[in-house]
């Protein structure tokens, strides 16, 4: 092909304008941006529901919410945060960064990329409808089951449950399509000469995550479909009176639900593996063992699901197996954290916002992981199970492990995406307010759980007042702090100091060899890898 033809083609490949640019986009950067904007929007929906929950729990008594509305919010908070905020945000990072990092011109399947994104707003709408439908005449009762949707309670719920089941189907389809795209891209689109064991760890984490998604999301889809059949078509999959088994749903749900935790966490761990070497100014420690640890986490993580169900009355043999399997996961997770710390060790560290988040994640995620080991121990879990201790534990895992990792990634790559430096002073303020209020919110909940407060209760005895007050005050600050994040992001998009292509002094990798912001079509010619 002559140079003249190339130039000619380029004229027609500039970004389209207006609505069409976004609606019909097949460009990985635009789709990545849309994923991130969608996730940010849902973050505020999910956050608002969490703040209402904490407002109700601020004091004993029923002040703000009817019990069913409270339960409805509990359900929606979880689903919106998991399926609406964290997973799309991670997919947004994947869309933006994987082609840049492996030297590919775009994702392998750009039209499917468009489809997998545009299913999301429909699914999100359906999810929100499931929340509001009961407020319309003949709308039925609210979803008061929590995101776990255990039957028989979920059979009792009105038509909002059907909206929710449909929303889960859509979200699942979107995730599976995105995963297929990511796997195909990683396997086929790497720059010539880039071997699998030379890919950036972020790409590895997403490869593992995508496989996990494809393996477990269909199981959830099957489970909720059986629920739908039980509700409307007279089957008795989960109805003991009809020969079914209510516990079967729990197994199906957690066969998805536990790997889902790793799906949420792994991409953020990939961000950490990019951020820490940059700001420690030395290579990542233990690349191979990180890849191995990740594969081990994914493999073992698939076969320990029933540790969420220790109290259902399994046999001694079964609980012993699930206990030991779960505790064993601490080995690869511990190795991962160790490698991150060893990357910092004897580095030449500076503490820009992404690095602050990275350090925060290492400390808080370790804490959450250790309470996880406590929860894995069956006899003690007889006490912790379904108490506020569990709530504290999984927020310590998922906020640092997933959400703060995404924040780190956003601050790390925002200058690359927009071409502008963010306001470092404001961003550091955001970090401190965010992390401190997070701890104020969730640390006291450990004590509440140990003292005997179950989770998912709308009202509590006054013996639990003190820590709930502290937790709710923390939650108010924590929730509001995200407005600052929004402000920083908008400000950065609108302008700011011009970022150079390298952005960070210690940054290494293909994405930093492109200008900031990268052109609409990047790596149209595959980069030559440096030996």
């Amino acid at each position: 092909m002559s140079t003249a033809t190339l130039a000619h083609e380029h004229e027609h490949h500039g970004p389209p304008t207006g609505l069409k640019r976004w609606l019909f986009s097949t460009n990985h950067k635009d789709i990545g941006t849309m994923y991130l904007v969608f996730a940010l929007t849902m973050l505020f929906f999910g956050g608002a529901s969490a703040m209402l929950i904490r407002a109700e729990l601020f004091m004993p008594g029923l002040q703000l919410l009817e019990p069913d509305l409270y339960n409805n919010l509990v359900t929606n908070h979880a689903l919106i945060m998991i399926f609406g905020a964290v997973m799309p945000a991670a997919a947004g990072l994947a869309n933006w960064m994987i082609p840049l990092m492996i030297g590919a011109p775009d994702m392998a399947l750009p039209r499917m990329n468009n489809l997998s994104f545009w299913i999301l707003p429909a699914a999100g709408t359906m999810l929100i409808l499931s929340f509001v439908v009961p407020f319309f005449p003949e709308g039925g009762s609210q979803i008061n089951t929590g995101w776990t949707l255990y039957p028989p309670l979920s059979i009792q719920v009105g038509m909002s449950m059907d909206f929710l089941i449909f929303a889960i189907h859509l979200l699942g389809i979107s995730s599976v399509l995105a995963s297929i795209n990511i796997i195909v891209t990683i396997f086929n689109m790497r720059a010539p000469g880039m071997r699998m064991m030379e890919m950036p760890i972020f790409v590895w984490t997403w490869l593992v995550t995508a496989f996990l998604l494809i393996l477990v999301v269909p199981v959830l889809a099957g489970g909720v479909t059986m629920l739908l059949f039980d509700r409307h078509f007279g089957t008795s999959f989960f109805n003991a009176a009809g020969g079914g088994d209510p516990v079967l749903f729990q197994h199906l749900f957690w066969f998805f639900g536990h790997p889902e935790v790793y799906i949420l966490i792994l991409p953020s761990m990939g961000v950490l593996a990019s951020v820490i070497p940059t700001f420690a100014r030395k290579p990542l420690f233990g690349y191979k063992s990180l890849v191995g640890a990740m594969l081990a986490i994914a493999t073992i993580g698939m076969v320990v699901w029933a540790h969420h169900q220790y109290t259902i009355g399994m046999s001694l043999g079964a609980v012993s197996y699930f206990m030991i399997g779960t505790i064993i996961i601490s080995i690869p997770v511990g190795l991962m954290i160790f490698n991150f710390i060893a990357t910092m060790w004897r580095g030449s560290m500076t503490f820009e916002t992404p690095m602050l988040f990275a350090v925060g994640i290492i400390l808080m995620f370790t804490f959450g992981g250790l309470t996880g080991v406590m929860l894995a121990v069956v006899p003690a879990d007889m006490q912790y199970h379904d108490s506020m201790f569990v709530v504290a534990h999984f927020h310590y895992v998922l906020m640092p492990g997933a959400v703060f990792g995404l924040f780190a990634g956003v601050f790390y790559w925002l200058p690359k995406w927009t071409g502008h430096m963010y306001d470092e002073r404001l961003a550091k303020t955001f970090f401190w307010v965010n992390v401190i209020s997070f701890n104020v919110t969730f640390f006291p909940q450990h004590f509440l759980g140990l003292a005997g407060m179950p989770r998912r209760i709308v009202d509590y005895n006054m013996m639990f007042t003190e820590f709930n007050v502290v937790s709710s005050i923390g939650a108010l600050v924590f929730g509001l702090s995200h407005l600052l994040l929004l402000y920083i992001i908008i400000k950065t998009i609108r302008g700011g100091q011009q970022a150079n292509s390298r952005v960070w002094e210690g940054a290494r990798g293909l994405e930093w060899e492109l200008p900031s912001p990268p052109p609409f079509h990047s790596w149209t010619v595959a980069p030559a890898l440096k030996g």
């Binding site: 009762s141 255990y150 233990g286 060790w345 370790t366 003690a380 006490q383």
Partner: protein, 374 residues
């Protein structure tokens, strides 16, 4: 935590806010309450052991990270060691670290396994007292299978329970000390979970399943817990109160329960005609405990899930459909059948509902009307 707090919750909140700056107030619930059974004590020990190990590890990680944060920074002029990952440590840490973690894991799992076997398996070949625990939306039913006694246990409204609101019930679960008790858990509707922290365990109540646990309570006392599995609207209103008493007191209590049961049976089966006042008085007590949770004490309900009964066309209409719905429930809704109640009890409830809250239909429903409707 002081249970005998004289004033309301707002004062507590104010106290917390003012105490935040100063030293933490005493008696805050920071850990499990003292165990009341040997197995619970072992569970408590496992908890303390794993928490101890976790704390040591946490301190170690924090120490290393903080040391590194302080020393290995650019502002102190520390040069990055570009070859650190290629030292012998870098080459072998992938073996060293997992082996160390495995050592910790095995010591935790090993100590837990012994307790687990003991907690999990109900002692065989021993004389056990069987207690059937049935979860309902939203109350507990305790059936003493060896004594032919049944206790219905419901939350007590705030006006009566005071500071113990949501931790107090109308009828406590009375259990003997120093006797091995087997708990058989099941549910009449959705999943619930029986949790009394002092007994050391939590067990799900699942419809169609019977799950079992056991305990031997070793001291007298009142132990409070709650339902721990989300079971719908009033999940928060399912307290469990265990009153552990010496065996002889327990025997006396069983005898007393049987007498009460006999007296109630005699009353319910007598042929007499009841006056409106007698029925409404009885009906009010029954309504407030059994129906008030959903339809509310003031009869206004919580629409749309729980319809109000004040000015309800169902309650103010013909008597027979009203009796039928109480007896048989309403399929597809949360309204359960109440046919385990006696004719007298249902007659009392229906009479009360038809005359309370300005419904004033003037109807008096006699036990024989209910009998005819069965």
């Amino acid at each position: 935590m002081a249970l005998a707090r004289p004033s309301g919750k707002y004062l507590t909140v104010a106290a917390v806010l003012s105490a935040l700056a100063g030293p933490a107030s005493a008696e805050l619930g920071l850990n499990f309450p003292p165990p009341a059974a040997e197995v619970a004590q072992e569970i408590y020990d496992v908890h303390m052991l794993t928490m101890g190990i976790a704390t040591v590890l946490l301190i170690a990680v924090f120490a290393v990270v903080i040391y590194s944060l302080y020393n290995h920074r650019k502002s102190r002029g520390y040069p990055a060691d570009q070859k650190f990952h290629e030292t012998w440590f870098g080459n072998w840490s992938w073996v060293i670290v997992p082996v160390m973690v495995l050592g910790v894991d095995l010591s935790i799992a090993g100590s837990a396994q012994k307790t687990l076997a003991k907690v999990w398996e109900v002692p065989k070949g021993e004389d056990l007292m069987d207690l059937k625990v049935v979860g309902h939306q939203w109350w507990w039913e305790f059936e003493y299978l060896d004594h032919d006694v049944k206790v219905e246990s419901r939350y007590v409204p705030e006006e009566k329970a005071g500071d113990l609101y949501l931790r107090e019930v109308d009828n406590r679960l009375v259990l003997p000390t120093h006797r091995k008790i087997r708990f058989l858990h099941t549910s009449a509707d959705v999943n619930h979970a029986f949790w009394v922290p002092e007994l050391g365990f939590k067990k799900d109540a699942i419809p169609g399943y019977v799950t079992e646990t056991w305990a031997e309570i070793d001291r007298e006392g009142v132990f409070r817990g709650q339902c721990a599995e989300l079971c719908g609207t009033w999940h928060s209103r399912m307290p469990i109160v265990v009153e552990a008493v010496a065996p002889e007191k327990f025997d006396a209590w069983v005898k007393q329960q049987k007498e009460i049961k006999l007296a109630a049976l005699a009353e319910a089966t007598s042929d007499r005609t009841w006056t409106k006042d007698e029925l409404t008085e009885k009906g009010q007590g029954l309504y407030n405990t059994k129906c008030g949770g959903c339809h509310q004490i003031n009869g206004l309900g919580l629409p749309p899930a729980f319809p109000g009964l004040k000015d309800s066309p169902m309650v103010k209409g013909p008597v027979r459909p009203h009796i039928d719905i109480v007896l048989n429930g309403k399929p597809g809704t949360a309204m359960p059948p109440w046919n385990t109640l006696t004719d007298l009890e249902i007659a009392a409830i229906v009479t009360y509902e038809r005359n309370a809250w300005d419904n004033n239909t003037g109807d008096v429903v006699q036990p024989k009307d209910v009998k005819a409707a069965r």
